[in-house]
Structures are given as C-alpha cells and as structure tokens.
Amino acid sequence: MKRWILCLGLIFATVSTRCAGAQPGSELRFCIPSDPRTWNPLLVEDDASETIRYLTGGVLVRLNRQTQQLEPELATAWKVSRAGNAIRFTLRRNVRFSDGSAFTARDVAYTIAQLMDPALHSPTGDAFRAAPGKVITRIADPYQITIVFPAPVVGLAKLFDQVAMLSATSPQHERAVLGPYQVADYRAGSFVLLRRNPNYWKHDSAGRPLPYIESVRLDIEQNRDIELLRLTRGEIDLIGSLSPESYDRLSAKAAGMAVDAGVSLDSEQMWFNQAPGAPIAEYKKTWFRSTNFRRAVSASIHRDDIVRIVFHGHARPAVSWISPANRAWFDSKLAPHAFDRSDALRLLADDGFTLVNGVLHDRSGHAVEFSLVTNAGNTARERMAAMIQQDLAAIGIRVHVVTLDFSSLIERITRSLNYEACLLGLVNDDLDPNAQMNVWLSSGENHQWNPGEKKPATAWEAEIDRLMRAQAASLDAKKRKQDVDRVQEIVWQQEPFIYLVDKDALMAVSPNLHNVSPVALRPQVYWNIDWLWLSNSGSRRP
C-alpha cells in the first residue's frame, strides 16, 4: 500500500507544480483502429472498445501499469478470503455516476450478476469462472459488499481491473459511467468523442477536479502510415502502438516523440499442426509430432536476424510463453534457443532425416516441405515468414509461404484444420498465466497445435495439464510460480509453439502532452489519463 501512496504522491506533486499551463477545454486526440464493437463494458474484446472502457469505466481496483501493483479506485479497501473464493470490498462514499445517480454496493451486485450471467458470454466474466456454480453477493451495507465464487479464483483481486461498474438504476444503462470520461458523440466510421464526466470522483491535491483534459477525441483510422503523418502534423497527440519502421522514421524526424518502453507482453510464434484429424498427409503429421523436428526447425531460425531486420532491434528473441515484461511470472533461468544449424541437422539425423543434394528427406524418402500460413497485411509477419523460408532452405526444407485474410486463416486453424504450419502473434494483456488456461490445457479449444484433445496426446502435455490445474487451484504464490516455471521449461523443451520474438512496446507522444510515463502494458501511454495535460505550445489544425 505504501508503494502506491508514494507513487500517487509523486504524481500529485509533479502535477501540482507543472499543470499551471493546463488548458480548460483542451482536447486529447488519438486514433483507434476500428469502430468499437460494443458499448457494453462487460463484453469488450476489441482494442477500440477496450480504449473506451478504460477511459469511461470506473473499476473497484486498478492495476498500476507502471508498478504492476493493484491500487484502490472505487473500492478503498479489499480483502480476499483465505479460501480464495471470496472478496470483500469497502466502497468509496459520495461517488456518483455520470447521470448523477449514487454508486452503492447494489450497483456492484448488479454488475456482478450481469457479468456472471451465463447467457452474456462475457470474456471478462469467463476469467472468474473457475468452476460451475452460482456467484453470490452479500451486501452488508451500502458501502460493504462480499462476492463469493463457487471455487477459488487465482489472482481474484486483479481480475477486477477489467470490470467496469454498471448502474443498477440508471435509465442510461451502460452509458452511465463512473470513469473519467463519458461518451458524448459517435459517428460510425469517423470518430468517438468523450467528454469529462462531471461527477468523476477524483480531485488533485489542490482540490481541482480530474482529469485535466476536458475531452478525448478518438478518430477511427486504420492506416498506420496516415496515423503517423497526422501525429507529425500535430493533428493527434499520441500513437499507442508504432511499427518498428514508423518508430525509426519518427526518431529520425523528431527524436523526442518516439518512445520504446521496452519489451512488451506480445510475442510472435509459429506452430505445426499436430491434430490427428487434420486433412494433411500422415507422414507430415509424423514430422510435426516429432520433438526433434520441431527443435531442429527452431534451431535453424535466426531469431537475432529477425529482431535486427524485421523489428529494427525493437524486439528480443523469445524464450517461452511468458515474456520478460511479466516480471512476476517470467522464468529467468531460461534463455532463447540459439541459432545452430549443425545442431538442427544432428537432431534431424536422429529422427532419420537425410540431406541429399541440398534437399532434406525423411525415412520414407519424402522431401521435407510444408506450407506456412499467416495473416495477410501484417508486414512484419510476411517478412518473418520470408526469413524463416530462407533459414529453413539452408537445412534442405522447402517452405511455401501463404498469406490469407484473417477470416480464412481463423477458419483453417480452428475449424477445417487444413494447414500445416502457422505463424501468428499473441496479444496478451493479462499478467496472470491463468488467463492462458485454454491455450495450455490439452482439452482447450485454443490449444492450437492440437485443439480439444479428449485426453493428452503426449506425456508432456499431460504434465502441463497437471501443472496448470495445480497452479489454478493453489493460493500459494510460491507454489504457483514453481508450477508455471515448470510449464515454461516443458514448452521450451518441447516447442509445441516455436516462440520467435517478444516485441517491444513502441509508441509516440506529442511534446504537448505532459505527465506521460509510457509503459509496456496496455494502455501504454494514457494509463494515467487523469493526470495528463496538454500545453498549448503546439499548433493543431482546426
């Protein structure tokens, strides 16, 4: 607790001394990649809706993106039960929704009831669903509430960072918000305008209402190049995610605007299709199921070259499924797989593969070749695929690179399973490894290399199942860490996913925007939106 108080105190002090130039009526502008798919904060899944939820939603506790620690928001205190299945919140008093209605424990109970409604299919709600059963809320008084889950939920308090409170009584439904902003205008395909919530509860040390910025205009802009151009022209104030090329271009033009916040949680990986029912040749399935084959492919990929050429140095060779950005869970004992062609050929020889006239053949004489699908339009992935193609050609493997539109790609990797290898990225917002249960449990639908296994196909998958279930049921942080470390080691050894790189969080911030502390976790730039302010030194196109 002391840590966050110190942190907040520092921010208060900085703002108090520096925000004399803050402009009433100021407007922060930045771009979102698409129209928001939903206005319901409980159903948020896409980036645009997530942005709006972060800026408008009031949460009981907030994960400080910088310290990665929880901080009080609408709840002044909270306590998780010993059994790990219940949490008691003490709510802040005199808080009102944007429509003026009072915020009480009834609203929390209503939000939880909505969130856990099985018919809603909320991804935020699913994260709380450790076991089937009803969630019970007990209201002790208007400012005390206990939520009881049917089974222990690991990392329970942190999950509330994603739960924006709804009003139980407001006729405005989800439009009545508790966050710093409320939706004022929306034009499909064009922009979303947020205005300051007049009833927002936070004030600075001088008693001035927060946030300092009066409104936020979110322009819907898909084209990353145009977004960068608009930033350099002063039409927008920040870019949350820059490509490495854009970062370098901006650095050359205006060094102070480009920010590399270090390695992020996002990774790029490839995997082979090991599903028994996949409509691909049996001999290929045999290759893909071989640990030696996968490790040989992994050892033949020059990750350092990918980092240098594709990501212009703004990435790191990946180790396993948890990024080093996740300080609490990353297994620091592991190192990225080294590029070693001779080791790759040795591993292949152990499996009976032979290199004849520069072409690799398996025991049955089949020339080794496979197709690698990835989503079209993602330049970085297209380049990575071309580099993998050349790297594997050096050990006699022919790779056919196929780019597909995203819908066709999803159809292939989730339904028809008609593909051989896939190159894709994982966008991860959640620090807790429990959020990836559906990926690592062999029965999970997102267990991409062999989805929905009736029983684990291999001994190491059975071990991962056991470890992941154990960590999900344990409230002992140390034991959980041991289990998750072991899973990272197994994945490092077996390489069902061949992790290639962990990308850096690259962003751009206008010099007119103050109090910015870019971080690797989303939302990287405006995570402390309450405290940001704009100076009027820059000119903005009307």
Binding site: D225, L228, L229, E245, R249, H302, D305, R308, I309, E369, F370, S371, V373, A376, G377, E382, R383, A385, A386, M387, Q389, Q390, H400, V401, V402, T403, L404, D405, S408, N418, Y419, E420
Partner: protein, 268 residues
Amino acid sequence: MKTMRAVALVFLAAVLAASIAANWIAPASYARQFRDQPDAAPSAQHLLGTDDLGRDRFSRLLYGTRISLLLAPAAALMSTVLAGAIGGAAGFAGGWIEVCVTAATDLFLSLPWLFLLITVRACLPLNVSPVVSVAITFVLLGCLGWAAAARVVCADVRSFRNSDFVLLARASGAGGARLLMRHLVPNLAPVLAAQFWISIPVFILTEANLGILGLGVAEPLPSWGSLLRELESFSAYSAQPWLFAPLLLLVLTVSSFQIVLHNEEVAG
C-alpha cells in the same frame, strides 16, 4: 510517329529480352537475402539497392518482369476476347438475348467476386507453387475483367446493327458471317484496344492486391505488383526514390504497348 513506334518496339523487345535472360543478367537470385545490407541504397553491387530483407531489387525487378509481362497481357487478351464475344453477340443478336446478356453483365459488375477468389484459394492446396498460384490468379482476372468493356462493345454493336450501312449491306445480300468478319470485328477495334491496354496495368496491380487472399504471387517470387506495393509506404516518398523504378518501368512498358497499338490502328 514511325520513329516512336520503332523506339517503343525496341524498348518492349529489350524489356522482354532482359526478363528472359534474367538468369544471366541478374547479379543475384531474386530470393537471396543479403541480411547484412537490408534497405541498402543503390551501389555497384546492388544497382537499385536492396529491399527490407536485403534482396537485390534489380534482380527482383528482372524476374518480376518475366512473370508480369508474360501473364498480364495474356489475361488482358482473355478479358478482351470475352468482352468482344459476349458484348458483340448480345449487341448483334438484339431482342431478348441482348436484354438477358446486358442484365447478366450488370449483375456481373455488381457481385462481390472477392468471395469467389477466396473460394478458389480454398480449393487449391496450400503447397501450390508460387508460379502456378500467380498463373491461376491471372486466369481468374481474365475471366472476371470483361464485363465493363462488354457493355461498351454491346452499345457499339447495337449502333452498328441499326446503322444504314448494315441495312444496305443486308439488302445487297451480305450474310451474317460476312457482316461479322468484314465489318463488325474491325469496328470493335477501338473499344477492344482500350480494354486490352487498360487491363494490363490494372491486372498487374490487382494481382498484388490479391496477395491478401493468398492468391497472387507468393514469397519469395517477385512480380511487378508486389514490387509496386512497396510504394504504399511513406519511406518511398522520403529518402528512397529508387523504389519508383518498377513504376517507371511499368509506365514505359504500358506506354510502349499503347504506342504500338495506336500505330497498328492508324496503319489498319
């Protein structure tokens, strides 16, 4: 104009010869990645510099020319023939046939053919070679690109059919086949020439855009379309003017085609 035609013919011949002889002329394989020199500026080793993966741009341009210069005109010819045949038949026959064909053409112009292309990609094995894939793409473009021209051809033939000149020819005993071959086909030349000329660059660019569906040329094979896609980045407008080399070559090639065709018409 004769000089221009000669220059255009020489240029086309040179481009064709260079693309055929790419194996001998190109300083490197189109796929070879000089990873220590990505995005390099032009030099003695790399005449047009290297791309973002360090591949020699000049070599890629030569090999890309071979693909595009062979397949795009073939597809353009296919669409031109289809436009002439369908539009011509509708306009010449008149009546219900014309009504049905024009309605079908209008429908053809409006349907989201993107999904047909996606379906075709799904029917092909993923391991299909890049050359086969790009050839299929151009065949599809040839099959789908006729409708607009057919509309104009139909109007042309309709006006031809109703002209006094045809009535006179018919009255003097000229048969349908004679009318068709001696008078109608030459009459369609302006529209068909325009269709052919327009289709070549349009198909080259469409092929590049179809990469998004997994059709079109696949890595590492280059095509003019894939090289032109590099211009869709801002870097082309700042410090890398040599990225415009494929565009210049395409413009000169298309203009040369146009000059040659124009002179053919004049001569005809």
